[in-house]
């Protein structure tokens, strides 16, 4: 407690408070742009922190991280374009809520959920950081592989479009994930002589194409451009009603705890936490049929989970100096730029930074809420812009977002191709969310499988002998078999036509 108070004394100086607010504001502003998620925002804004003292710079950078996380979900809800992989799940119900005129409620739930989850995560971070970090280190390749398989199986049940169709999309995502340099051997593959493909296919242009460009083409195809009237939203509709609030409390709390725990695990934790939370909420909800059609739980749960996971990812970074996710890797580089080496010695050598950053996250989290709740109305006004003016601008932002990743035209090409493919898939009612998430998880899954097999000299029993991996596989098997058993039982008791796809 004394340490946290010391951290607060460092964070609550007018200068640090100002830069914390600026970080949260700028992060939200840039994160709101379609396609520019936390990684893009942090990379673009890193330069701003160069001239600041280390503590202030890191406090501002943490604010940028938080702000961009929230900003990413705003585009998912309003225009159905996820700025980052962890917002893909939010699109599924958030955008449906927006289309039903509940955009304000969805944004409000996302903001409050993110705040609660961030705060819960920070309490855990303050209390458990060193101990949890050691536990997280027990994860080896078999455990990573088990988690990836588990995640992909959950994915196949996410879209509500049928298991086989989702698994096909997962398969395509996995194929795309293998393009480029192999992480283990450094050899390139599936580049077909195109040098730009050597760095692999980034998920951002794929996501922007599959969601943004496909949406644009769909609008044009459906003749719904000029005829579409601007959505009029009343003030009271900006906030969730009693039912939505009541239905969101549980998902926020569960998402907070689940997200934090998943955040400790290496890999794309924020992504995994969102679909774990979504699956959990859908499986226990009384309103299962509403999922995918604008269920508030589908926004509140995953949004809380990804924010809590973002906090959880700070545990290994601050305690061990290991970044488990790309945004924390950027934070690590920001620390190194300012001459600070995170790790076990950070707490003893630079307590002002360790506790200052943690304390500033409490403040930044609060600032983000104060900053964003009044802006819900402003963001919702985006929906009042006629589609034939809004969509070309989104196309422009998508082009810039794709280009800015590597300052490369090839990413714009990937986005356009993904857009055309997304249009066809949308037209044929194939959900693209599993494809994107598989593209993110795929490389980790492949590497961990190969490393596990090398460790065991080809013995697949390694996945059973490791208790954590075995437990995860059992959970995955249960997840896969349980619905089938349930369906068979239901068909026997209440015989009727049943779908396979």
């Amino acid at each position: 407690m004394d340490s946290l108070l010391y951290g607060l004394s460092v964070a609550i100086t007018p200068v640090n408070l100002f830069f914390c607010l600026m970080g949260a504001f700028l992060g939200t502003l840039v994160g709101v742009l379609p396609g520019i998620g936390p990684i893009g925002s942090m990379a673009l804004l890193l330069g701003i922190t160069y001239g600041l003292p280390p503590v202030t710079a890191l406090i501002m950078f943490a604010g940028i991280y938080y702000g961009s996380m929230y900003g990413g979900s705003t585009t998912s809800i309003l225009v159905n374009i996820p700025g980052e992989a962890s917002s893909v799940v939010t699109c599924m119900d958030g955008n449906k809520m927006a289309k039903k005129g509940r955009a304000g409620a969805a944004l409000f739930l996302a903001a409050v959920g993110s705040f609660v989850a961030g705060t819960v995560g920070l309490v855990f971070l303050t209390l458990l950081a060193p101990a949890l970090a050691e536990e997280a280190l027990k994860f080896g390749p078999p455990e990573y592989f088990a988690i990836a398989v588990f995640g992909l199986l959950i994915l196949s049940r996410l879209s509500g479009q049928g298991v086989i169709k989702s698994l096909l999309m997962v398969g395509v995502g996995l194929l795309l994930g293998t393009i480029g340099l192999d992480d283990v051997s450094g050899q390139s593959r599936f580049t077909f002589g195109i040098s730009d493909l050597q760095r692999g296919i980034d998920f951002v242009p794929v996501a922007m194409g599959l969601f943004g460009i496909a949406e644009l083409l769909q609008m044009v195809a459906e003749k719904s451009t000029s005829q579409q009237e601007a959505v009029k939203i009343k003030f009271r509709e900006l906030f969730p009603n009693k039912v939505e609030t009541r239905r969101s409390v549980g998902p926020v709390m569960r998402g907070s705890v689940l997200g934090f725990l998943v955040g400790l695990i290496p890999g794309p934790a924020a992504v995994i936490s969102t679909f774990l939370s979504y699956t959990l909420e859908r499986s226990i909800s009384k309103f299962k049929s509403e999922f995918g059609q604008g269920a508030p739980e589908g926004v509140a749960g995953p949004e809380s989970a990804n924010n809590a996971a973002a906090v959880g990812a700070f545990v290994p970074l601050l305690s061990l100096g290991i970044p488990f996710a790309p945004p924390t890797a950027l934070l690590l580089s920001a620390m190194l730029i300012h001459g600070i080496t995170p790790g076990p010695l950070l707490l003893t050598e630079h307590p002002e930074i360790f506790w200052g950053v943690i304390a500033s996250m409490y403040i930044g989290n609060l600032m983000l809420l104060v900053l964003n709740l009044p802006m819900v109305g402003l963001f919702v006004r985006v929906l009042r812009i006629p589609a034939n003016l809004l969509m070309p601008n989104i196309l422009l932002l998508c082009i810039i977002g794709a280009f800015a990743i590597n300052n490369s035209v090839s990413d714009v090409c990937i986005m356009m191709v993904a857009g055309a493919a997304g249009f066809i898939l949308k037209r044929y009612r194939f959900s693209v969310a599993p494809l994107i998430l598989a593209l993110v998880i795929g490389p980790m899954m492949e590497n961990s499988l190969r490393q596990s097999l090398m460790m065991s000299q080809g013995d697949i029993g390694i996945f059973v002998r490791q208790p954590i991996a075995c437990g995860v596989f059992i959970a995955a098997a249960v997840l896969l078999i349980l619905p089938v058993v349930y369906r068979i039982m239901r068909n026997k008791l209440f015989p009727k036509k049943e779908a396979f796809v």
């Binding site: 398969g171 395509v172 194929l175």
Partner: protein
């Protein structure tokens, strides 16, 4: 003759992709179970994906009605109904514009190429008169160019303006 359903069409497309991918994957060193090389996982993935596509196609052919009954709007009749309401001419124009843009972006430069693309997009989406569309395109691309180039350090291709 049985009509090919949408699910089957997509499965065929993905299957074709998997075959091309597999062909390339088979040229890579496979290794062994104890020492998997860079072709190991891709070959497995491609086979599993091919199997999945085949399974879906067979399922659609033999259990088509029950499968599509659940999905509803994926039946052949519904496909025709949906197709009739679609404006494919405009979609084709916009798609073509997007791909032409890719070829022009580097040689012509970001500013002129993007203004052109936005103009086409506004016209396709029926946004006001042509001069309004052109004016709005120029203003928006100009502002965005200043923000990203001057403030955020993103350097777009200069093309003709270099």
């Amino acid at each position: 003759m049985t009509k090919i359903t949408n699910n089957s069409k997509v499965a065929l497309g993905i299957g074709l992709l998997a075959i091309i991918y597999l062909q390339e994957a088979l040229t890579l060193p496979f290794g062994s179970a104890g020492m998997p090389d860079i072709g190991f996982v891709p070959v497995l993935e491609a086979f599993v994906l091919l199997f999945g596509c085949l399974f879906l196609i067979l399922l659609e052919q033999f259990f088509g009605d029950s499968v599509n009954g659940q999905i509803g709007d994926n039946t052949a009749e519904n496909n025709d109904k949906v197709s009739a309401d679609m404006n494919y001419k405009k979609t084709a124009v916009l798609t073509l514009a997007l791909f032409i843009y890719l070829f022009l972006l580097k040689p012509v430069g970001f500013l002129p190429a993007t203004i052109g693309l936005l103009f086409v997009c506004f016209r396709v989406m029926e946004y006001g008169k042509w001069y309004w569309s052109l004016g709005v395109s120029i203003i928006i691309v100009g502002i965005v160019n200043i923000i990203f180039t001057k403030w955020l350090g993103v350097f777009f291709p200069q093309g003709l303006l270099s």
